[in-house]
């Protein structure tokens, strides 16, 4: 299948329907509007026979009424206009289709679009951060999908091939991931390795054969629904409603209390909208282990598949909002460079960096150990539930009571094999892991109030994303020690002398994919490329 759909080095076209589908919503809206108008007129003119024209005239301008009469009067002209319109749309569509081409060649993916204003975008394969398959509902009807190649950069750093047929898209995704993974493992010039067709064929065939997609987590929609409802905003709304009802009951001012309802409506609307969007985004959530990465499939209407290579994970976080505590649910998020950074829209970022929208502690631990296999489960357990300085945890002391009256026992860090673990929060519990090799820089800060209590705050800064790891209010001496220690760990990891390379990739012996890869495991001496 793969060889047939992927032709390297050659310019290929997108699916002929894609320009139509890209403008799909507008087109459907226009067609829907026109159809409903005509249908209305048709009904009213047939059934009521002009006896009750009132409501129609109220809605549409008089000119349109004339237009309909003219259509009835000159059917051939109308047909001609329709044909011209269709031909025009088809023509524009065809030109747009002719002028958008893509190819995978010379170690990069390229996409050319535009007729008058041309755009040529290319992404180097070794810079690919993640490959995503997106299927909006319209494209789904036609069996099409969009392949989105994410690279590290600003908010607009993605290359979207929309749309191509589903199996071609799937093959292309596997192919790109294989090439991206390969260019990382093979230290030789990537262009050479990719230039020869047989090598490419091998690269495509070998990861496909051993990769067994092992299901890891599935989130039932019922649980997601409850978890979505249990959110600060909805609880606030519920509390306000409850308070309103109580006051109305106690003071027995029924009609008067209703006066407050319209004022509440906009807020309620946005809250419901936000929650609904969350539900739509994360519905049907499934996470699958594909050996070198994880593949996430989610979405109620717009089904998306996103693959994140393990060694592109910059930081990971497990968090439990206080509302989920009675149910024992957790959420897992990651930082992936260029994906879901603050530049892009809020919702998009959330979607692309959530690796478990809601799950039990077991689910969360399974995802976390998959992403960071070297951090032992006991450490994670301490990170999410533990408190106080024990088993290698360094926490803030009683001096931090002023700043964190509740959580000072919990706030702290622990150094593990290959990653630093941070934990914080007593009400909303949170634990973060940053691989040593992914630490971008360290910042130690101390304000005057902190100086008077002799505590300091350490920021461990990874590539940007939803997670910003902070160790709050450590004792100054402990903070200095942590600063030095982490600096040293990061230095070792960068040199590749550290125990792990690539950072959080699985143990070579532990997984099928790495051992059977044609190039074997990466050599330890080489620093990990982006």
């Amino acid at each position: 299948v793969t060889e047939a759909v992927i032709r390297d080095e050659e310019w290929q076209r997108l699916h002929p329907l894609s320009p139509l589908l890209r403008g799909g919503v507008v087109l459907i809206a226009v067609i829907g509007y026109v159809a409903s108008q005509f249908f209305d007129r048709f009904l009213s003119s047939i059934n009521l026979d002009g006896i009750l024209p009132g409501p129609d005239i109220g809605i549409g301008p008089a000119g349109e009424d004339g237009a309909l009469e003219q259509v009835v009067a000159h059917p051939f002209l109308a047909l001609l206009a329709l044909v011209l319109l269709v031909a025009g749309v088809a023509g524009v569509n065809w030109v747009a289709w002719r002028f958008s081409r893509f190819r995978v060649a010379g170690g990069q993916v390229e996409l050319r679009t535009g007729v008058l204003f041309r755009q040529h975008r290319q992404v180097r394969l070794e810079r690919v951060q993640a490959v995503e398959l997106s299927r909006p509902i319209l494209a789904r009807l036609f069996g099409l999908a969009s392949v989105v190649v994410q690279s590290a950069g600003g908010s607009d750093s993605q290359l979207a091939l929309s749309f191509i047929s589903l199996n071609r898209a799937e093959a292309l995704r596997e192919h790109l991931l294989a090439l991206a993974g390969q260019s990382e493992v093979v230290p030789a010039p990537a262009d050479h390795a990719l230039g020869t067709p047989p090598a490419v064929g091998d690269a495509v065939a070998s990861p496909r054969a051993p990769v067994v997609a092992v299901p890891v987590v599935e989130v039932p929609n019922g649980r997601l629904f409850v978890a979505t409802i249990l959110h600060g905003s909805t609880i606030f709304l519920g509390a306000v409603l409850f308070a309103g009802l109580i006051t109305a009951g106690v003071l027995s001012v029924g009609p008067l209390a209703l006066a407050g309802v319209p004022a509440m409506l906009p807020a309620a609307f946005f809250i419901v909208l936000g929650r609904g969007k969350e539900m739509l985004t994360h519905g049907n959530f499934r996470l699958v282990d594909v050996g070198t990465g994880v593949r996430v499939t989610e979405g109620l209407t717009d089904l998306r598949t996103m693959t994140i290579p393990l060694n592109r994970v910059q930081a990971l976080e497990v968090i439990q909002p206080i509302w989920w505590r009675p149910l024992g649910w957790w959420r897992v998020r990651v930082n992936v460079a260029g994906v879901g950074s603050s530049g892009s829209g809020d919702g998009e970022g959330e979607r692309e960096t959530t690796l478990l929208p809601v799950g039990t502690l077991d689910d969360a631990l399974r995802v976390l150990t998959l992403l960071a296999p070297r951090v032992p489960a006991s450490q994670w357990n301490d990170a999410v539930l533990g408190e106080g300085p024990q088993r290698g945890w360094q926490t803030s002391s009683a001096r931090a009571k002023l700043f964190d009256p509740l959580s000072w026992r919990r706030n702290g860090w622990s150094d593990t094999d290959g990653a630093v673990l941070l934990r914080s929060g007593r009400l909303t519990r949170r634990a973060i892991a940053v691989p040593h090799a992914r630490i971008q820089s360290l910042t130690l800060q101390q304000g005057w109030l902190q100086a008077s209590r002799r505590v300091a705050t350490l920021h461990v800064i990874p590539a940007p994303g939803p997670i910003s790891p902070v160790i709050d209010h450590l004792d100054t001496e402990a903070a200095h020690d942590a600063f030095d220690r982490l600096n040293e760990r990061a230095r070792d990891a960068r040199r590749g002398a550290g125990p792990i390379d690539p950072p959080l990739a699985p143990d070579p012996a532990g997984l099928v994919d790495w051992t059977q890869h044609p190039s074997g495991v990466p050599e330890p001496g080489r620093p990990d490329p982006l």
Partner: protein
């Protein structure tokens, strides 16, 4: 606030918020001058205004004068003692601030680009500020008040080291 930290005496090589025994490279004294000039631009008109009001309208405004003078003196004291310093081995470490201290460590291998900027006042005093950037907008740091030649040299050096120790993301 000025006491040496106990941690410094424990291990002399440790980098601390208070400096320690490392050969920190101080910023140009011109930076202090530039900052004092900027401070004067704000403080002097305020003092004149309050004095004028105090003489012509009400004596109470002279309290305001006193307050402005006190604040200006305090800020001047902070400025003159503000040490922004660097030390280079495999990372560049920037220490700054008096009231709010911070210590930033940026590995050369993580550098994405280096910026050099100087406004008219800084240019007149022959200094420039050098800003370093990594892949994360929240990391990185700035070195204000380097002599222009030194800033250029630093940029070259940072770029060269960054190339040599390149670690990407």
């Amino acid at each position: 606030m000025d006491d040496p930290d106990p941690a410094t005496s424990v291990s002399p090589v440790q980098v601390t918020l208070h400096g320690g025994d490392l050969p920190w490279q101080p910023v140009s004294p011109n930076l202090t001058r530039v900052r004092l000039i900027t401070l004067a631009l704000f403080a002097v008109p305020a003092i004149i205004a309050t004095v004028v009001v105090g003489v012509l309208v009400t004596r109470w405004a002279l309290l305001g004068t006193a307050a402005v003078v006190l604040v200006a003196l305090w800020v001047a004291w902070l400025i003159s003692r503000q040490v922004s310093a660097i030390s280079c081995d495999e990372e560049i470490v920037i220490r700054k601030g008096r009231l709010f201290r911070s210590l930033v460590s940026v590995p050369y291998g993580r550098l994405q680009y280096v910026d050099i900027q100087s406004g008219p006042l800084m240019r007149a005093h022959g200094i420039a500020s050098c800003e370093i950037h990594t892949a994360s907008p929240e990391s990185g740091g700035s070195l204000p008040g380097l002599p222009v030649a030194e800033a250029e040299a630093l940029r070259e050096r940072l770029s060269a080291r960054g190339e040599a120790q390149r670690a990407g993301l």
